[in-house]
């Protein structure tokens, strides 16, 4: 039998039993669609986190007070082992390192902001003018913190857009005085609204000079020092230099942790990549189930069409021809199901992106390819047994079943 004839025969057979065919196509398409949608979710989460990290700024080296080993962040270390403060002077000293472009010390705390009787709690970040370019913050109105001696701490603030809305409504905010804690500060700038960032919503942030913040929170230590390297290649060198400078300043004790953005990013990337893979594995189970369903459907088809198989044999069909015809039918069911599932999955991912625009829910290519080929593979694999049964059927017995 010629290949086009086998395909046409299989197609007609599939169309001839619409209920059976549509059910197995449905099962297969649900399997593939779930692979596509679930991996889109997993990979979307990965892209989202990676994207957020990238928005932290580029070529970033971060210094944390306290020593934590290579094992990463350890809460016990963070609380107990900070023998020496990480000071503003430490941060200023880092500007000496060769590969460093700019440095921003950061201290953080919560306080209250009030304007004309309106009061709310805010996150206060104490830093310097260089913080804005390092974090890629853009200003909606006014200007950033003034370039000044880091120890000075003039009474100014840059506020997030949500704070501005809540405190000033439609009234102009620039030049107005606000009370933060027990200080009166002049608003010099408003950040552009950006929405949710990783762990910190800059729309609800108040940024003040670092010396002011330290005085406000009565603390000498910094929360972080953000360092921007001159280039990506300079990062490892900067990291070493920074560690060395701080070691010297802290009398030979390595009591800070220097991390690079790349390392953090790579960890998250790996973690979420593994998550996506795991989710894809779960979805693959549904594909296997769909494959088994196709097998059942084909077994029913073989039983239902016993008489026809007998007839085909009487008319001179070889076992091979019959096996091919049934395999082709199973492959068709799987292929159509897989294609339909792919479209359904893409539609689902599209819907997800419509509902959650910040979430880049695109299924990764590897998942789509793996999903489609698994669908076809299981369809053929599970189609093999029924096809074999049909091919081996005794023609006399089969003809009697008509």
């Amino acid at each position: 039998m010629r290949l086009p004839d086998i395909l046409r025969f299989a197609r007609d057979a599939a169309i001839g039993y619409p209920m059976r065919t549509s059910l197995s196509v449905l099962a297969m398409s649900i399997g593939v669609a779930s692979v596509v949608i679930l991996t889109a979710l997993g990979d979307g989460a990965r892209r989202y986190v990676v994207g957020q990290f990238s928005s932290l700024g580029s070529n970033l080296v971060i210094v944390l007070p306290g020593r934590s080993g290579t094992g990463g962040f350890n809460p016990a270390n963070a609380i107990t082992s900070t023998p020496r403060d990480l000071t503003i002077d430490d941060a200023a000293a880092l500007l000496r390192a060769a590969g460093v472009k700019q440095v921003a010390p950061l201290t953080a705390g919560t306080s209250e902001i009030s304007v004309a009787g309106r009061l709310r709690e805010v996150m206060v970040a104490g830093t310097t003018a260089s913080y804005f370019p390092i974090r890629n913050f853009e200003l909606g109105q006014g200007s950033a913190l003034p370039e000044e001696d880091w120890g000075r701490g003039s009474a100014v603030a840059v506020i997030g857009n949500t704070i501005r809305e809540e405190m000033f409504g439609n009234a102009p905010a620039i030049g107005q005085l606000v009370r933060v804690g027990d200080r009166r500060l002049r608003v010099v700038g408003v950040l552009k609204p950006v929405g949710q960032g990783l762990g910190m919503n800059t729309d609800e942030l108040v940024i003040v000079p670092v010396a002011l913040a330290q005085a406000m929170f009565n603390s000498n230590t910094l929360f972080r020092v953000l360092i921007e390297a001159k280039s990506r290649e300079a990062i490892p060198q900067v990291r070493e230099e920074v560690a060395e400078i701080l070691k010297q300043r802290h009398r030979g004790e390595e009591d800070v942790t220097v991390i690079t953005q790349d390392a953090v990013l790579a960890t998250f990337d790996k973690l979420l990549g593994a998550l996506t893979l795991g989710v894809a594995g779960i979805a693959a189970i549904s594909l296997a189930v769909a494959g088994i369903l196709v097998m059942n459907v084909m077994l029913v088809a073989v039983t239902q069409r016993t008489g026809e198989i007998g007839l085909l044999k009487a008319l001179g069909a070889t076992g091979n021809t019959i096996r091919l015809a049934f395999l082709a039918e199973a492959a068709m069911l799987s292929a159509v199901g897989a294609l339909l599932g792919y479209l359904l999955g893409q539609l689902g991912a599209f819907a997800l992106r419509q509902f959650f625009p910040v979430f880049p829910a695109y299924p990764p290519d590897w998942a789509v390819i793996a999903g489609l080929s698994t669908a076809l593979g299981t369809g053929l694999l599970f189609g093999f047994m029924p096809a074999r049964r049909a091919a081996l059927m005794d023609p006399v017995q089969a003809l009697m079943k008509h």
Binding site: M1, G16, G307, L311, L315, A317, T318, T321, V396
Partner: protein
């Protein structure tokens, strides 16, 4: 050379712990162009014999030469090829594929044999004309009458131009008038040289053949003797046989 030569054929079935001899020590020679009826009560082995002749079943013992070739030792795929090219089947219940049109059903043996589509279309068109089905080409079996269905089945059986046509109760599911038409179609094929073997319960149908085999308990009870095979000039003739075994004469052809 004989078309079919059976020697010492035996076929047994295992039913529980008893062995049933469906066929025992059967010897038979069928020459090309013969018109043969196999008759006998249910369970006499006539269907088993037909299946053996059609290469759908294998004997437990004995030899079967088809056109001089020993087919008992052939592989299943070789048997399929012989069935495809040399043997046509006509069944009591027509055995048409319900989802295929009349034309597609007729073309099925050629499709299975891998004959190119253009050739198939040509031959099917001729067959539709020959069997008066030209207006039914695109009808599915459930849109055809019983007689039309059997005509499609006969067209299918002849489309590969086989040497042998095996008909199992070809009129069993048809009324008398339609059955008559179908039998005459088969007899016309026989007149053109095709060997025709009919298995039937029907005495009237069996009596129309030039040679009758009576079977009982898996053995040949009798091989017809009442007429020597007519050579060439016309068929056995209704008039000759009808008075013998047909209590009510078959209706005249329309």
């Amino acid at each position: 050379m004989a078309l079919i030569e059976l020697k010492g054929i035996a076929r047994t079935f295992q039913l529980g712990d008893t062995t049933v001899n469906a066929l025992a020590d059967l010897n038979l020679v069928i020459d090309p162009g013969e018109y043969l009826a196999i008759m006998g009560p249910s369970g006499s082995g006539k269907s088993t014999l037909l299946n053996l002749l059609g290469l759908l079943d294998r004997p437990n013992a004995g030899s079967y030469l088809l056109e001089g070739r020993d087919v008992t030792t052939m592989q299943p795929d070789e048997l399929a090829k012989v069935r495809s090219t040399r043997i046509g089947f006509v069944f009591q219940s027509f055995h048409l594929v319900p989802r295929l049109t009349a034309a597609e059903n007729i073309a099925l043996p050629m499709t299975l044999a891998g004959i190119p589509a253009a050739e198939r279309v040509k031959r099917v068109a001729q067959a539709l004309l020959d069997f008066g089905l030209e207006n039914r080409a695109d009808h599915r079996p459930d849109q055809l009458s019983g007689g039309q269905r059997q005509r499609v089945a006969i067209a299918r059986a002849t489309i590969m131009q086989p040497a042998l046509i095996l008909a199992d109760e070809p009129t069993g599911n048809l009324d008398r008038h339609t059955g008559e038409e179908v039998v005459r179609l088969l007899e016309e094929l026989n007149e053109r040289g095709v060997t025709l073997v009919v298995v039937t319960h029907d005495q009237a149908l069996g009596a129309r053949a030039r040679r009758q085999l009576m079977m009982e308990d898996g053995r040949l009870q009798s091989d017809s003797t009442h007429l020597p095979p007519l050579q060439g000039e016309g068929r056995g003739g209704d008039g000759l046989i009808a008075p013998i075994s047909n209590p009510s004469p078959s209706p005249p052809p329309p």
